[in-house]
């Protein structure tokens, strides 16, 4: 399936784009996560990387739909 992904902070620096479309095999968050790790090994250097789906933190087993708004959330540092 095709995932439309927003990136922020250091994840944007690593992926090189604010928004991108990735083709993944499988339809779960974990499948996207594996695809990202393979294509962008620098993501492994982060303290953590959450994936948000439709503006909510998502679990690895969650299924994705084409219309989902997906975002990469590297360690937050507000305040």
């Amino acid at each position: 399936m095709k995932c439309k992904i927003k990136t922020f902070g250091i994840a944007r620096d690593i992926l090189g784009n604010k928004e991108l479309i990735m083709e993944i095999t499988g339809n779960k968050v974990i499948d996207l996560r594996n695809e990202l790790s393979e294509k962008y090994p620098k993501l492994e250097s982060l303290k953590s990387l959450f994936i948000a789906v439709n503006q909510n933190y998502a679990e690895d087993h969650m299924e994705l739909k084409d219309s989902d708004e997906i975002a990469l959330i590297p360690p937050v540092s507000g305040g």
Binding site: F8, G9, V76, G79
Partner: protein, 143 residues
Amino acid sequence: MINITENPIEIIKVIDAVAALGAGGLNVFIGNVRGTANGKTVRWLEYEAYEGMAVAEIKKILDAATLRWGLLGCAVSHRVGTLKPGETAVVVAVSAPHRKESFEACEYIIDQVKVKVPIWKKEVFENGEEWVEARPQMTIHSN
């Protein structure tokens, strides 16, 4: 009141937003940009937010705090964009019937904002820049 803004935060407006009849205690936390990080001089910070989700996450935090401490009002205003040392990055205000609850709730809210809300800051030094908290080897920063 939940607010993500590029403009300087007007502290008194955040405080006014939580005023409530019956509120004996208001507590306000103001987080300012510090001029040094790990001994290095900070020239400025770049803040960015995933705005829609940031507002939604802040709302969850405020709802939880309101339920737990019986708050009469609560508000968070967070600035994004370029901030220089001394400028205000975040203001949290709560009002409660009594003071103890106002302190506990306000501290809970800022603690949660710092770990849950999708906002990021990059420190810009004389010789380089660094996303705060991003990598395991980095020292923990906090204001």
